[in-house]
Symmetry: C2
Subunit: 450 residues, 2 copies
Amino acid sequence: MTMEKKAWQKILRYLKIRDKARTDILEDILPQDIAEKITELEPEEQRKVFGLLNDEEAALILGELEPSEQAHIISAMDDKKSAAILHHMPSDDIADLLGGLENPKVQSILKHMHKEDVAEVTGLLKYPTDSAGGLMTTEFIAFKETTKVKQALSRLRELAPSAETVYYLYTVDEDDRLVGVTSLRELIASSDEETLGQIMRTNVLSVNAEIDQEEVANIVQKYDLLALPVVDNDEKLLGIVTVDDIMDVIEEETTEDIYHLVGTSEREGKSLVHAGVLATSKARLPWLIVCLLGGLISGFVIDSYEDTLANVIALASFIPVIMDMGGNVGSQSSTVFVRGVATGEILPKDMFQYFFKDMKVGLIMGSVCGVSVAGAAALWQANPMLGLVVGLAMFCTVALAATIGTLIPIFFIKLGVDPAVTAGPFVTTIKDVTGLMIYFYIAMTFMEYL
Amino acid sequence: MTMEKKAWQKILRYLKIRDKARTDILEDILPQDIAEKITELEPEEQRKVFGLLNDEEAALILGELEPSEQAHIISAMDDKKSAAILHHMPSDDIADLLGGLENPKVQSILKHMHKEDVAEVTGLLKYPTDSAGGLMTTEFIAFKETTKVKQALSRLRELAPSAETVYYLYTVDEDDRLVGVTSLRELIASSDEETLGQIMRTNVLSVNAEIDQEEVANIVQKYDLLALPVVDNDEKLLGIVTVDDIMDVIEEETTEDIYHLVGTSEREGKSLVHAGVLATSKARLPWLIVCLLGGLISGFVIDSYEDTLANVIALASFIPVIMDMGGNVGSQSSTVFVRGVATGEILPKDMFQYFFKDMKVGLIMGSVCGVSVAGAAALWQANPMLGLVVGLAMFCTVALAATIGTLIPIFFIKLGVDPAVTAGPFVTTIKDVTGLMIYFYIAMTFMEYL
């Protein structure tokens, strides 16, 4: 979907000439496409392009860039110019952008901004970025209950260009407390003389500004909303969170879940991609150290069967395949289960039913893998009994790994701990230790035939 | 967020009495909440509740249930009643629901449905469920270019209750080809006498019905759309995909990505949670067999150093920790990289820059893990030289695993293969083999001091 070189040069030409009949270049090209192109340019060129844009165009395009790109561009720009561009952005985007800059730069930009903008933005900056308050914008539309449909529609016509969304009209009482909501769809389907108080829904969904963004995303997704109002402790309407921001939250939360699967933490809700070398190492090392301990415990198991191993040194050759397979089956089981719980496909009442199903799956996969590896081992080492030992150990390891892979997350859920965070390291260590114990125990049992 | 027992009993009471002043029970309680409650009930109770609802209410609630729950409820219902309920659902939801039923049941329900409903739904059923055509609904709003704002608004007032979304008005020519789009926001901000042809955007984004749902989701997400029109090969407008369906697609695609991480395939875009025991085994076994081969290759490495191992049997005790750590670091690196590419945080031009950063991270983590395990090994086996060997091998393995973990996905991307699908098994096998080779090579080198 990247813009072709020719199309881009045409845009630059338009911007340079600023033909009076064509100053509205952004009406025909979507700002997202220009933003995408800009990320591919060198810093020097980026500055040139922004020099050609007027403040409103620059705001539109800046709003579509990743926070790190925004910080680059704003840092290289004159503070007065930055403030003028920010004036055209919605308050939540301004807050996000300033949140990514160094503090002295923020202070110096705030000095040049309109007083009302500063008040709105500093109001937003006090909420954590991953809370409802951190996500919301203050550009919402609210009326009193007594407003007539006709009045609301004509006022909407004026507000439409600057509001973040016009698709929900909120109704507030004298103290700005949220009392109802009317969708634009309901508004246009109503007759002119009705009041908002008559047509509004009174059981309006809202969230407190302190609520975590994951919960906000869940509500928007569950109820198929285009926007969700944010209120303070007194139910006073503070802002709205819109569905486009929610899609970004879902992406961010998914990254977090995927990171947890491999035992990596994020840095304050940010991905590791743009983190420095030391910060990345710090985020990844804790689980590695836990796993290092787990690996040493597995070593103890081997150590305690040293005599068995010394007698039949060929047993060592099958340690990797037993460990790998136990690990893979265990992480398959725990991953499918944890994801199923996260998406609501596995309800609490169905957890144990799912557990028994996965146990059966483990038995089937264990049989297939056991027979395969038994044959391979028997042929390779020209020792059918060794094949039997390895195959039997493989069957038990795979079947047990599937069981452990679902049982441990269930255990954590019952304890009230998020299984995504904790199941990984435990599953790894427990399946390694049990797999190796089974293997050497079976080998020891059959020792005289090996 | 589950409904309290008391609230639920109140709803049931209302439904039973059907007080004439309160037949509009669903205006105050959201259908999603009733749907959630219904999934917790036993089949017998579910039937009772649906018996109390009128067709329109039943349609609203049915639309919010998971496909497997829908199939349960519809299968137990009289076909005529089912058809009457489906009449009140949007065409995409009907198609999805019928797609989850056995064919004879579908045929028998279709017999009782309105002719127009049947035509629309069978039209949709011919598209794969994971294509734009499979996602779209036919309940969109389209006008001709000559329609005036005033006319469009008054027509919208009539259409609002039945259209899937009223927030975009599409403009079509004589042959129903898509030529423009006007948002409801732009419509209400325009004056009554303007025509849609004057105010519409002509560079309207659209997708062909055959396009994969992942691409549809990417476009909706990138351009912050509430709906995206779907056209056929002649640009004829067929339907629209709405943002609430896109959020479900994102969830589904994420599940797919997460499954790929652990080498599990989905069944035709469905998660494994509701698949049978055999189907689940079949989806999970292929990668397990690949890994089994990988594990055997690692075994060959150990086998070829049998003499070294037989001399210092204590070396075997550190095989697990070397393998585990290489595996963890490798999957951390490849997962963070593959996710970064998927979300667009790592652009093609930055791949190698990221690779070098991750190499440095690998060196730091390798140093920390190497020193830790060297100390542990030296103390445990009371053999400082063995500690040195294990520590040195750990450093090399971790540093190399980080390098391989990003290099292999880069290699697959350059080949044009989705790295999410393929990187896992390769990273596992290569890091195992190299880790063990390094370990035994270092051990052999220092053999005389051990």
